[in-house]
Amino acid sequence: MVDLLERKLIFVTGKGGVGKSAISASLAWLGASRGKKTLVCEVDAKGNLADFFETDPIHFQEREIAPRLWAMSMDTEASLKQYLSLQLRIPLVARIGPLASMFDFVASAAPGVREIVTVGKLCWEVKERHYDLVVVDSSATGHIVSQLSAPQAINQLVQVGLVRQQTGWMLDILEDPATTGVAVVATPEEMPVSETIELTDRLRAETKVDLAAVVVNRVLPELFGRGEEEVFDRLDCPEGRERLDEVLGGPSGVLLDAARLAVSLRRARTEHLERLREAIDPAIPMLYVPYLFFRSHGLRATHQMADALSAELGY
C-alpha cells in the first residue's frame, strides 16, 4: 500500500456536507508543510476552498497562496481552451467563434467531455508541471465515478481522433496506484457511511483508480473512560443533580443533559464507524479527524485538521 501523501494525485470525495473541502485543504496544507510543491484544486466551484485558507477567491489560473502551496479552481471552459491550444496544438482557437457555446454544446452532446477536460487538466498538471502533490477537492460521491472513468469511456466511444490519443496517457496516470489515489471522506453518520461503502465498491468495479484512504471526519471524543460512565449515571439522577446544584451554587442539570447528549451522539456514531470499518478492506488506511468545537472553518481549523491527519499518518 502506497502512503497517501506519497502519491502525486489525490482525489478527495465524499457525500455532500461531510467536509470534503476542509479535508482537501488540510491535506494540501500538510503536503506543503512537509516540503512538497503542492497544488490544491477545487472542482465544484462553490468558493469554499478559499475560506479554508482565508485567501482571496481562487481562479482557474493557479496562484501561490502559501509557501509551496498553489491553489486553483476548475473551469471546464478555460480548461478546454488550454487543452485545445496546448495539447492538440490547434491554432487560433479564439477565432473559431463562440467557443463558449460550442463547448456547452459539445459537452451536452458528448457525455464525458466535461469530465475528461477536468481530469485531463489535473493529470496534465501532474505530468508537466512537476508538482509533487496535486490534491483535488472533487465532486461528491454521485459524480466522481463518472469523472474518473471518463477517459476509459471516451476511449471506448471515440474510435479515432486526437481525443482518443489523449486518453492513453491520462489512463496511465490515473491507473497507477503509486501516482494516483482516491480519499473518501465520511462522517460517522448513516448516509455518509452507506455512500462511502457503495462508492468504494463502485470504484473497484467501474474504475482502475486506487482507493488510497478513508478519512472519517468529525469524530466526537469519548467523554468518559472506564468506570467513569457509572459515576456519571449515579450523578445524573435526582439526588445527584440536587447535590451538583448545591456544590455549584445554581441549577446545573443542563450540564448533565449536555453530557448525556454527547454520550448518546457518540454512541450512535460508533455503530456507523464499526459498520464502515467492517465493510472497508482492512488494508485501506482509515484516518480519524476529530470534531472541531472551536472553529468550523478558516485557517485555524485547516491547521488543526492538518495536525490531526499528520498524527494519523504517523508523521
Binding site: 485545445l84 460550442m102 451536452s108 459524480h143 481525443v163 448516509m191 468545537f293
Partner: protein, 394 residues
C-alpha cells in the same frame, strides 16, 4: 377577522403552509436531512390533513426505503401500509404513498412517450450515447426529477406531492433544468451540427467549427452524435412543450418550496443563496426547515459559568464533603467526570453560539421557519419520521 383576510395572512406554520399547496419541493445542500424532511412532511400531511399524499424521493437511506416498503418498487407509487401508522400509535386521516426516482426508467418512458413511432423510440433507446446520457451523467437527474413530478401531478392521483430534490452540483440546477432542456433542443448549434449529415452542405462560415470538432472528436464519433440528435429531434416539439409545462407547474401558486438546512456555515450560505434565487425568480418560498439544531439550553449563560468553574476546579468540587461517597466513587474519578462534564458543556456551548449567530445572519427568510433537533438515532421508520414531523409541523 373575515375568512378572506385569514387566507391572505401569511402562513406561520409548515402544517398551515402545506394545507393549501399541492406540490412542496424540499431543497438545500447535501447532508442536511432533505430526504428525511420531505418524508416527514408527507407523513404528517397524511396524518393531519388527510387525502392522498405522495413523497417522491431521490435517494433515500436503504433502511428508510425498506421501512417505507420502497425496496424494489422504484418508479412505481406505493402505498405505505396503514399498519405502519398503527405501530406509531397514530390513525392517519389520509393515505401516505411513496415513490423513488429511477432516472433511467424515467428517461426511457419519456422517449417512448415523445418518439413519433416505436421504431424511432427503439433506435434511440439502443443508442450508446443515449445510454450514457440517461444512465450515467448526474446532470440528467435534474430534469428528470422535475419531469417525473409533472407527470405524477398531471395524473391527478394525489392531493399533495412532496418532492425531495436530487443532489446537484449547484442546488439551484433542477429549477432551471426544464428551461435548459427546452433551450437545448431549440439551439442553433444543434441544428448546425446536424446540418452536414442532412444536407452534406457545409458553408464557409461554419467550416472551421467542423474542422475543429472533427480533429478533436473524429468523424465517426461526430456522425454518431449527429445520428443521435437527428433521432432526438423527432421528439423536439413534444419535449419543448413538456419542458415549458413543467416550468409552469413549478411557478404555479399551488407549488411551494421548502428550503432545508442545518446551522453550519456552508449549508447556511447555500440556503441563503437558494432563498435569494427563489425569490428573484418568483418561485413561492414557503418555509425554511432547520435540522440538527442543538438544544437551546446550551446557550444558558449561568450554566456556562458553572461549567467553566467545573472545568477549572473539578478536583476541589469533587473534594466537597460527602459528594464522592454519596456517588460511590473515589474523588479522583469524580473529579475526572466533573471535569469532562464541564468541558463538554463548554464545547457544545461554543457550537450552539455559532449556530445562534448563523441563524441571526440568515437575514432574508420565509415567513415560516421550523427547527428540529439532532436526534439520538437515525430516522429510518415511520415513528421516527413522525417524531421529526411533530417538531417542524407547528
Amino acid at each position: 377577522m373575515s375568512q378572506v383576510d385569514a387566507a391572505k395572512r401569511p402562513q406561520t406554520t409548515i402544517g398551515g403552509l402545506l394545507a393549501s399547496k399541492e406540490i412542496a419541493i424540499a431543497c438545500g445542500s447535501g447532508g442536511v436531512g432533505k430526504t428525511t424532511t420531505a418524508a416527514a412532511l408527507a407523513a404528517m400531511a397524511a396524518v393531519h390533513h388527510g387525502g392522498k399524499v405522495l413523497v417522491l424521493t431521490v435517494d433515500p437511506a436503504r433502511r428508510l426505503a425498506n421501512a417505507l416498503g420502497l425496496e424494489g418498487f422504484g418508479n412505481v407509487e406505493t402505498r405505505i401500509e396503514p399498519d405502519a401508522f398503527k405501530s406509531a400509535g397514530v390513525r392517519p386521516r389520509g393515505e401516505l404513498w411513496a415513490a423513488m426516482l429511477d432516472t433511467k426508467q424515467s428517461w426511457d418512458d419519456l422517449v417512448r412517450r415523445h418518439a413519433p413511432d416505436r421504431q424511432t423510440a427503439q433506435r434511440i433507446l439502443s443508442n450508446p450515447l443515449y445510454q450514457n446520457i440517461s444512465g450515467k451523467f448526474v446532470q440528467s437527474h435534474d430534469y428528470i426529477a422535475m419531469e417525473r413530478l409533472y407527470e405524477i401531478h398531471l395524473e391527478g392521483n394525489f392531493d399533495l406531492i412532496v418532492v425531495d430534490t436530487p443532489p446537484t452540483r449547484n442546488a439551484i440546477d433542477f429549477i432551471e433544468a426544464p428551461q435548459r432542456m427546452a433551450e437545448f433542443f431549440s439551439s442553433r448549434l444543434l441544428r448546425l451540427l446536424i446540418a452536414p449529415y442532412r444536407s452534406r452542405m457545409v458553408n464557409l462560415a461554419t467550416r472551421p467549427f467542423y474542422q475543429v470538432a472533427d480533429r478533436v472528436l473524429g468523424s465517426q464519433f461526430l456522425e454518431d452524435i449527429a445520428e443521435f440528435f437527428i433521432l432526438f429531434q423527432t421528439m423536439y416539439s413534444g419535449f419543448v412543450e413538456r419542458a415549458r409545462a413543467v416550468e409552469r407547474v413549478l411557478h404555479d401558486s399551488r407549488t411551494t418550496f421548502v428550503v432545508v438546512s442545518t446551522l453550519e456555515a456552508a449549508p447556511v450560505r447555500e440556503a441563503e443563496f437558494f432563498i435569494r434565487v427563489l425569490s428573484s425568480k418568483r418561485f413561492h418560498l414557503g418555509g425554511l426547515v432547520l435540522n440538527k439544531v442543538l438544544p437551546h439550553y446550551l446557550l444558558d449563560e449561568g450554566a456556562e459559568r458553572r461549567a467553566s468553574r467545573l472545568y477549572d476546579d473539578a478536583p476541589e468540587f469533587a473534594a466537597t464533603e460527602g459528594f464522592a461517597d454519596a456517588l460511590g466513587a473515589d474523588r479522583q474519578q469524580l473529579a475526572r467526570v466533573l471535569y469532562e462534564v464541564g468541558e463538554n458543556f463548554r464545547n457544545f456551548n461554543i457550537v450552539a453560539r455559532r449556530e445562534a449567530a448563523q441563524r441571526k445572519e440568515l437575514a432574508v427568510r420565509p415567513d415560516v421557519v421550523a427547527t428540529a433537533p439532532e436526534f439520538d438515532a437515525d430516522i429510518h421508520d415511520l415513528p421516527g419520521l413522525l417524531r421529526l414531523g411533530e417538531r417542524i409541523w407547528t
